[in-house]
């Protein structure tokens, strides 16, 4: 067996693993979210299917798969079919560059614990998160429904707006790490994570990712009580499921990104690195859920106002200040 073949095999195994972990993770994240929200509201949440409701994700999946796949009469069918997949796939692809552990040695081979350690990982991540916009914009457009269209347009505007702040908040990270590779960024955070070194960038990134994932308090594109269900109003069955899963995968991706960029990735004492990594991701996910249970939805103008007039200026200033400091330090 040639090295190349083994490399390919390893990549496939990693891919499979990541795929399985991500999908089950997303599914159980749904359950976790519902349980946590339940507790915040002093109820139990789903606890009927299996012990502690553990089988709930399975039941949901079965339900979604068996539901009627409904297509509106005047919908733009090809786009309507593609949009949910686009949303889920872009979310999944981002994981290709996430390193969740230092390379390990397996049968004498050093195996990097990342599908593909791109040297421009940050740019890859930013590019994919821009592509995610297409999923909802096209889904909203293709439904031929006023609610979906409005949701799609809102999503478009929101995602593009917050991408700027997100990108700008990553510039200090790259400056500090001196690399676009995510592995390098993680390694650069030993022993002090960037969250402590540059809390402003961390907060801006946290808020922007929350907005990117369209979660409360930034769920303007869905906004049930204004737009029924926003861009996925007309979707049902597994197509809706793809949107739904995409959102939770997205949440995990963004959690991983926060971990990688600001929380020091797998780095931590005592426990094996991979456990650290997942613990940090879960902590971020919990923060997102907690936020959802606490904050009310922003108004559309407040959202835009906050993004353009506050986050972007703050992150710009932060870039300049960080750059100046680094110059002075290295100076």
């Amino acid at each position: 067996m040639s090295d190349f073949a083994i490399d390919i095999l390893l990549i496939l195994v990693k891919l499979g693993l990541i795929f399985a972990v991500l999908l089950t993770g997303a599914a159980y994240l749904v359950l976790a979210e519902r349980r946590v929200l339940g507790r915040i509201q002093r109820r139990y949440g789903p606890n009927r299917v299996g012990p502690f409701g553990m089988m709930q994700p399975l039941a949901d999946a079965v339900k979604l798969l068996t539901k009627e796949d409904f297509i509106p009469a005047q919908a733009d069918k090809p786009i309507f079919f593609v949009a949910p997949g686009l949303a889920a796939v872009t979310a999944l692809l981002a994981f290709a560059v996430v390193p969740f552990s230092p390379p390990i040695t397996l049968f004498g081979r050093e195996v990097p614990m990342v599908v593909c350690d791109l040297n421009i990982g940050v740019l890859y991540f930013l590019g994919l998160s821009s592509l995610a916009v297409y999923g909802i914009a096209l889904g909203g457009w293709a439904s031929n429904s006023k609610y979906a269209l409005l949701g799609g347009i809102r999503g478009l505007a929101q995602l593009i707006s917050y991408e700027l702040a997100m990108g700008l908040s990553l510039v200090p990270v790259v400056l500090m790490a001196g690399s676009f590779s995510l592995t390098d960024i993680v390694l650069a955070q030993n022993p002090v994570p960037f969250a402590l070194l540059n809390p402003v960038a961390f907060l801006v990134f946290l808020i922007s990712t929350a907005a990117e994932s369209k979660r409360i308090p930034f769920d303007i594109p869905e906004a049930e009580n204004e737009l029924v269900a926003g861009f996925h109003t007309e979707y049902s069955g597994m197509r809706f499921g793809l949107f739904f899963v995409g959102e939770y995968i997205n949440m995990m991706i963004l959690g991983s990104m926060i971990t990688v960029f600001f929380l020091g990735g797998w780095i931590g004492p005592v426990l094996p690195p991979i456990v650290w990594f997942f613990a940090k991701v879960m902590a971020v996910a919990f923060v997102f859920i907690w936020m959802r249970g606490t904050l009310p939805r922003l108004r559309y103008d407040q959202l835009m106002h906050f993004g353009w007039k506050f986050l972007i200026p703050v992150s710009l200033i932060n870039v300049i200040v960080t750059g100046a400091l680094l110059l002075w330090l290295k100076g």
């Binding site: 507790r39 002093r42 109820r43 139990y44 249970g293 606490t294 007039k309 506050f310 200026p313 703050v314």
Partner: protein, 192 residues
């Protein structure tokens, strides 16, 4: 950012306390929700734990009878008019004593939303809500109740009321025979 501060100043003046209040207002709820997460849920675990509803709980509808055992319903159509989901239908008719009653009376419980507007509209206290809420089925037709299914042998709430004794048109009592009435006028006499 500069404009953001301007807006902030316009809105809150120069008072730094306002900024503090806003920050606190953003962070404090996180504490509140976190605290609640560790309290015991208030949920009743329904099929295992059962709750006794209050007597005025609005669930399955019944038709009651007056103290003499007659049907209280006079088929006035007010309940069907009040019903927001149009689940009540009936046909009024007249018996040999001049008493108005429902020839048939039907409530489609698979449509009913138990809002209680019918009971509120009922002028004769015939239609009443009971607290019996464990009431569902898989066949919609089995949820369509006819008069025979709805009638109970009781007056329900306000047990003593008998509409025809107050109506003043001489169905239960002879004409002019209610306690708040004079006897029928003799129109052929001009005597006082």
């Amino acid at each position: 950012m500069a404009e953001g501060i301007d807006v902030y100043k316009r809105r809150y003046g120069q008072n730094p306390k306002s900024l503090w209040r806003d920050l606190k207002g953003t962070v404090e709820p996180f504490y509140v929700t976190l605290r609640n997460m560790f309290k015991k849920p208030v949920t009743y675990q329904y099929p295992e734990e059962k709750r006794t509803p209050y007597p005025r709980y609005r669930a399955r509808i019944v038709l009651t009878r007056d103290p003499e055992g007659g049907e209280r319903c006079v088929a006035c159509y007010l309940c069907s008019a009040a019903c927001p989901v149009d689940c009540i239908s009936m046909q009024s008719s007249e018996d040999e004593n001049g008493r108005r009653y429902a020839a048939w009376f039907r409530i489609n419980f698979s449509r009913c939303i138990y809002c209680g507007l019918c009971a509120e509209a009922c002028p004769t206290l015939a239609i009443q809500m009971t607290p019996f809420y464990e009431f569902s089925g898989r066949d919609p037709l089995k949820m369509v109740y006819e008069k025979e299914d709805l009638l109970i042998a009781d007056g329900g709430k306000d047990n003593e009321y008998n509409f025809y004794k107050h109506a003043g048109i001489g169905v239960a009592n002879p004409r002019g025979g209610n306690e708040d009435e004079y006897g029928p006028v003799d129109v052929r006499s001009n005597l006082p």
